[in-house]
């Protein structure tokens, strides 16, 4: 039996402290916003499974709605994995097929690229989640991890859209470590991560790099501020380092709030600076 996953030594975290911090974070975000429930999109992949487990741990599974939103080309195995999470947690779940909405839009545009289709699907899922946020009276919980956020492997206002994100500061390898600690089904931890837009698609094949290598590189470049020369000395390939650097810089815009042209005396995000949640801001 091979190891469940590969965990680079420098990325190992104390999962009990991580769970403690994240549970308090989730409860704090909901309380400060005046909500008691949460909703998230469950894909069958490890990120959304981990977040579902974390939310259930923080507020109880009965306050979580998991929405399964397959497209007609999505893998049946993904759906089965998502259903396994729902069954294990005992949370509420809903199935919303996005094929009719997506296909209606592209009906007169059959040559649309897979990039356009993938982005549209991600945004359609976002639209469904924010609608369910109203029907379920819950905040939308984000499920993007730090690795995909740093390299920009996300759809702006799509999968990255959320009210708060409990795992956005954890690399994929660390999400796996947390998944194991939380008791996420092994099949989900073991399978190759995929955006599941077409059969056989995997993140690692698309980016042409393995997660353990990418996570280590990002850790040394971003968290530990090592220069290009220094990470090459650590054994990383120079061409790879340059490519990942470009991915990071090229996706800076995805990680930030859009700039507002500064015209008036006080401008949101510039010199009008308040906490997102403050006295009077909680829903009553």
């Amino acid at each position: 039996m091979t190891a469940l996953y590969e965990l680079p030594a420098e990325l190992a975290i104390d999962t009990s402290i991580a769970r403690r911090v994240i549970a308090e974070f989730i409860r704090g975000q909901l309380r400060q916003a005046g909500f008691e429930r949460a909703v998230l999109g469950l894909s069958g992949g490890i990120d959304s499974a981990v977040v579902a487990f974390l939310v259930a741990e923080a507020i109880g599974a009965e306050r979580l709605l998991s929405v399964l939103m397959p497209y007609r080309t999505s893998s049946p195995a993904s759906r089965a994995d998502a259903e396994a999470v729902v069954a294990k947690l005992g949370c509420a779940s809903e199935l919303v097929e996005i094929s009719p909405m997506v296909d209606a839009y592209f009906a007169n545009d059959p040559d649309a690229s897979s990039l356009r289709r993938g982005n549209f699907m991600a945004r359609q899922r976002m639209a469904v989640l924010y609608d369910r946020s109203v029907t379920w009276s819950g905040l939308v919980v984000g499920t993007s991890n730090k690795t995909e956020s740093l390299i920009g492997y996300t759809t702006l206002f799509g999968d990255s859209a959320c009210a708060f994100n409990p795992i956005g500061d954890l690399y994929k390898s660390q999400v796996r470590q947390l998944a194991e600690a939380l008791g996420v089904p092994e099949a989900i931890i073991r399978k190759a991560p995929s955006a599941d837009l077409w059969p056989g698609q995997t993140d690692e094949a698309e980016a042409d790099i393995s997660y353990p290598v990418l996570d280590r590189l990002l850790f040394w470049r971003v968290d530990k501020r090592r220069s290009i020369d220094e990470v090459v000395a650590l054994g990383f390939d120079l061409a790879l380092v340059a490519r990942v650097d470009r991915m990071i810089a090229g996706s800076e815009f995805k990680r930030q709030v859009p700039p507002i042209a500064k015209l008036g005396p006080r401008t949101a995000g510039v010199d009008y600076l308040y906490p997102r949640r403050r006295p009077g801001s909680a829903r009553v």
Binding site: E10, A12, I13, D14, S16, I17, A18, R20, V21, E24, F25, R27, G28, Q29, Q32, Y272, L273, Y274, P275, R276, R277, R278, P279
Partner: protein, 320 residues
């Protein structure tokens, strides 16, 4: 000397909700008194919450604010340290910690060092204090107050001890971060703080009392882990991480005497030497005097010139 019972209010203040936090303080003061506490310590900005940004001005209080007077009155026979945003007469906002005793405000310490780097942005919203003083207290020993980052500057603990403090009190809103499994206690921030508090206690041969908040403001989670460290650098009490609660422990202030007799570090301090050398460094850094400890051709602030090391031993005049 009878033991001193110390209560640490490891609370999660509600951000910007001054009235609610004040009410909570009153409840905790009652609870600590019923428990026989002689000293009760609240965390940094316990009355307002930490990540205030532009809310700071809304929750600021003048020292003559009746709400502070009411809190002070509630202390009666206790010593209580509270922390809030203080607005001065010229409308500067400070992160303040106040020692309340005998029904009045006995001392106010304004945070000296405002971290404005990494996840911190304090200097944007607050003014830095200018005074560092140990003050007498009804506890029978001198007390030195410091706020969070103040303790990341070596001189603060030493100045307070030299000024007569035997009890150093640090109130904090320290955000927990760095979960690397290699950390001694699973949390990098906690490891760093524990190292420095034990070192300060031992080197100043004083008690260190640390009260850190818990709870969440926006993205950041505060780790708690409030502590009391003895003058020998040993922890007397360590509160759990991330858990809200009123934690109490007893200390014997006589330990200070024992430690200082056995290990007279404070007796042997050379403040006049510090003053002399610091005065020299200040003048040299300001360009008012040549850097007497640097190579001749060294870039300012670098001390070492490029090329071969030469020079006479520092501190000796070259033979002519």
């Amino acid at each position: 000397m009878k033991p001193l019972r110390i209560a640490l209010a490891q609370i999660a203040p509600r951000l910007g909700m001054l009235d609610e936090n004040i009410a909570r303080h009153h409840e905790i003061i009652k609870e600590a008194r019923a428990d026989g506490a002689g000293l009760l310590v609240f965390p940094e900005l316990g009355l307002t919450g930490y990540l205030l940004q532009d809310l700071a001005a809304d929750v600021a209080m003048r020292l003559d604010d009746p709400r502070l007077a009411t809190l002070a009155e509630a202390t009666e026979d206790m010593s209580v340290v509270v922390s809030f945003v203080e607005e001065s007469g010229d409308h500067r906002l400070f992160i303040a910690a106040a020692l309340l005793e005998g029904g009045r405000i006995a001392h106010v310490h304004r945070k000296l060092y405002l971290p404005t780097y990494g996840l911190f942005d304090e200097r944007r919203f607050f003014a830095a204090g200018d005074l560092l003083r140990a003050v007498p207290s009804r506890l029978g020993v001198g007390v030195g107050l410091a706020v969070c980052e103040d303790f990341w500057h070596l001189s603060v603990a030493q100045v307070l001890a030299l000024d007569g403090a035997q009890l150093l009190i640090n109130v904090s809103s320290s955000p927990g971060r760095d979960l690397a499994a290699t950390n001694e206690v699973g949390l990098g921030t906690a490891s760093s703080w524990r190292n420095l508090m034990r070192t300060y206690a031992q080197l100043t041969t004083s008690f260190v009392v640390f009260c850190n908040r818990v709870g969440v403001d926006e993205s950041i989670s505060f780790w708690g882990g409030s502590e009391i460290i003895s003058p020998s650098g040993e922890p007397v009490f360590s509160a759990p991480f991330f858990e809200e609660g009123l934690f109490t422990a007893e200390i014997s202030l006589a330990d200070v005497r024992r430690e200082r007799i056995g290990l007279p570090l404070l007796r042997d301090e050379r403040p006049e030497l510090h003053v002399r050398e610091l005065a020299r460094i200040v003048a040299e850094r300001a360009g008012l005097a040549p850097d007497s400890t640097a190579d001749d051709m060294a870039e300012s602030g670098l001390d070492v010139a490029p090329g071969d090391p030469i020079q006479n031993p520092i501190g000796f005049r070259a033979a002519r």
